[in-house]
């Protein structure tokens, strides 16, 4: 059982504001799901390596260049932000 304190802690890690009814609901739902997946404890995993990637490819590199062709995209991306100034995304003050 995941208690309400634990749920509040997880929510704060996930930067999600949850109200009391959600805390109650998630406590119930997550407990049920985790009870279900506990069946994995029965599986013998000795000498089995984890699947770390869905393909066998290793590091894939590319050149770190400015895309001159699509400069307009950068401008439009910044415009998608709720607030911007001089081509920069503006956020609330971080240091008090």
């Amino acid at each position: 059982m995941i208690d309400k304190e634990k749920i509040k802690h997880i929510a704060s890690l996930a930067r999600l504001k949850v109200d009391d009814s959600e805390v109650e609901k998630f406590s119930k739902d997550l407990s049920a799901i985790l009870d279900y997946v506990a069946e994995l404890n029965e599986v013998d995993i000795s000498d089995i390596s984890p699947t770390l990637s869905a393909t066998s490819s290793q590091n894939v590199f590319r050149d770190d260049n400015v895309d001159e062709e699509n400069k307009d995209v950068a401008k439009r991306l910044v415009q998608s932000a709720p607030d911007s100034e001089n081509g920069y995304i503006k956020v609330k003050s971080i240091l008090k």
């Binding site: 999600l16 069946e39 894939v60 995304i89 956020v91």
Partner: protein, 474 residues
């Protein structure tokens, strides 16, 4: 003229022989949408004006004698988590209600190069998280076979649009069954390609090691045509791979079909089971060799999926922070930085998305990582190894796509586990990264049933050849 029965190749032929123009075709399907979508509600948004323009461009090409591609002038629908430059992409979330894509997904670029005509963006479960399209923040899509039932999900809008002949084909995305299960529920063909075969660039990410884009179509050959058009390595998706040279495939006759006994379980609809078994018998009568096989770790697949998927979801969803794009409380002066994070996410995201973020954050948090996430990745290896071993014995594996037919609205929304069980036959394929196709195989109480064909990695052509042979048996 009724264009709803035409395959993509037939449309291409008719266009080239000037029996029909792309504009006529587009107008016909626009009218289909106008007639039907008030009831079906497959579409979140339409842009008929630009569709007409795209069709006109194809007609001009034909008129001037330029050769046209196979998908030129073919009307399509795109799931709303795939980006089209300048077009809204909401992923059926309040978070992205007003978000306009700033670039084309690679699959869209490829379809545009072929001059396919986009008729609109389709409804889905919010951020592709769900199996019924009920978690869309906007409205519910109806199953064209019975308006009281769900179309399946998460690509429910795409499946319903194809099933009701509002478009010729649609794109969806499949993380744990989200193309195949709605295809099964609506009675259309749905392909989940091999992981890495199709670029994910421009697909709004859900669980990156599982997501693939694929087609929903009326026929197996249509699925082949669309798949051939969208596949290929893309430098903008580092997990995409060079697709191996296509091998010749023989089709059903003499083919060894494996039937995994773990896919015929208690709790499965008995009529669905009976139908699947009788269809397998038909393939045997047509010359296929049927072998019972075992995939012993199947029973763990759903548990593995419900650890790995939310873990990846919680990480992918971190980008919706109210800072860069999407819903934000930033312009509320009373809020500080932390409350912008907390409130933007609380107000912008729906309950299923939050549930998965919470679950994923939990299994990745300090002290639990090894017990859940690492263990799940190890069991994932075992599931993949089961398939590797099976494909040493058989050419293809056939199973039901889903344990039931389409259920009623609200039937499973209060019980997340019951909803998750809908994916029990489809998630193992994503965990292993295999290609699989759902093909309509009949009806139970007037609702469609899909049969799932699974091939080894990059053997999509084997799915198409055997699937086409099966279609002819019906």
């Amino acid at each position: 003229m009724d264009f709803t029965k035409l395959t993509i190749r037939e449309i291409n032929k008719s266009l080239k022989e000037k029996n029909v123009s792309a504009s006529e075709l587009t107008d016909f399907f626009i009218n289909q949408i106008k007639d039907k979508d008030e009831d079906i509600k497959a579409f979140l948004s339409n842009d008929f004006a630009s569709a007409k323009k795209q069709a006109k461009a194809v007609d001009e090409k034909i008129k001037s004698g330029v050769d046209i591609s196979i998908l030129a002038g073919v009307p399509s629908a795109i799931k709303d988590n795939i980006l089209i430059d300048g077009v809204k992409a909401t992923a059926s979330s309040k978070m992205l209600e007003n978000y306009i894509a700033t670039y084309d997904a690679t699959v869209i670029e490829k379809l545009k190069n072929q001059n396919s005509v986009f008729l609109g963006k389709t409804n889905m479960d919010e951020f592709a998280m769900g199996s019924s399209t009920e978690s869309s923040a906007f409205f519910k899509t109806k199953n064209p076979n019975d308006l009281n039932r769900v179309p399946g999900g998460s690509s429910g809008g795409s499946a319903a649009a194809v099933a009701s002949s509002e478009v010729v084909f649609a794109l969806g995305s499949d993380t744990g069954g989200s193309i195949r299960q709605p295809a099964s529920f609506c009675g259309v063909v749905g392909l989940k390609p091999t992981y890495g075969a199709v670029s994910r660039y421009g697909l709004i990410a859900m669980a990156s090691s599982l997501d693939q884009i694929g087609p929903l179509t009326k026929t197996v050959d249509d699925a082949r045509v669309v798949f051939e058009a969208i596949r290929g390595k893309d430098k903008r998706d580092a997990t995409s791979v060079i697709y191996p040279e296509k091998l010749q495939e023989r089709g059903l006759k003499g083919m060894k079909i494996g039937i995994p006994k773990e896919y015929f379980i208690d709790g499965m609809d008995k009529d669905v089971e009976k139908l699947i078994k009788s269809e397998i018998k038909k393939m045997e009568d047509a010359g296929a060799k049927i072998e019972e096989i075992t995939l012993p770790n199947t029973k763990s697949a759903l548990s593995v999926y419900y650890i790995i998927m939310p873990a990846e979801v919680s990480s992918n969803m971190a980008r919706y922070d109210g800072m860069k794009f999407g819903f934000s409380t930033h312009n509320n002066d009373t809020e500080d930085l932390l409350s912008v994070y907390l409130n933007s996410r609380a107000k912008g995201l729906g309950v299923e998305v939050k549930r998965r973020i919470m679950l994923g954050t939990y299994v990745l948090s300090a002290g639990y990582y090894d017990a859940y996430y690492k263990r799940a990745q190890q069991v994932r290896t075992k599931i993949t190894n089961d398939f590797k071993k099976a494909f040493e014995e058989v050419d293809i594996i056939v199973t039901p796509t889903a344990p039931t037919t389409a259920f009623l609205f609200g039937e499973k929304t209060d019980d997340p586990l019951a909803m998750y069980l809908e994916d029990i036959f489809t998630v193992p394929i994503n965990l292993a990264g295999l290609p699989a196709i759902s093909i309509p195989c009949g009806k139970v109480k007037n609702m469609p049933v899909g049969m799932q064909f699974i091939a080894p990695w990059f053997y999509e052509e084997r799915l198409f050849r055997s699937g086409e042979d099966y279609e002819k048996l019906k």
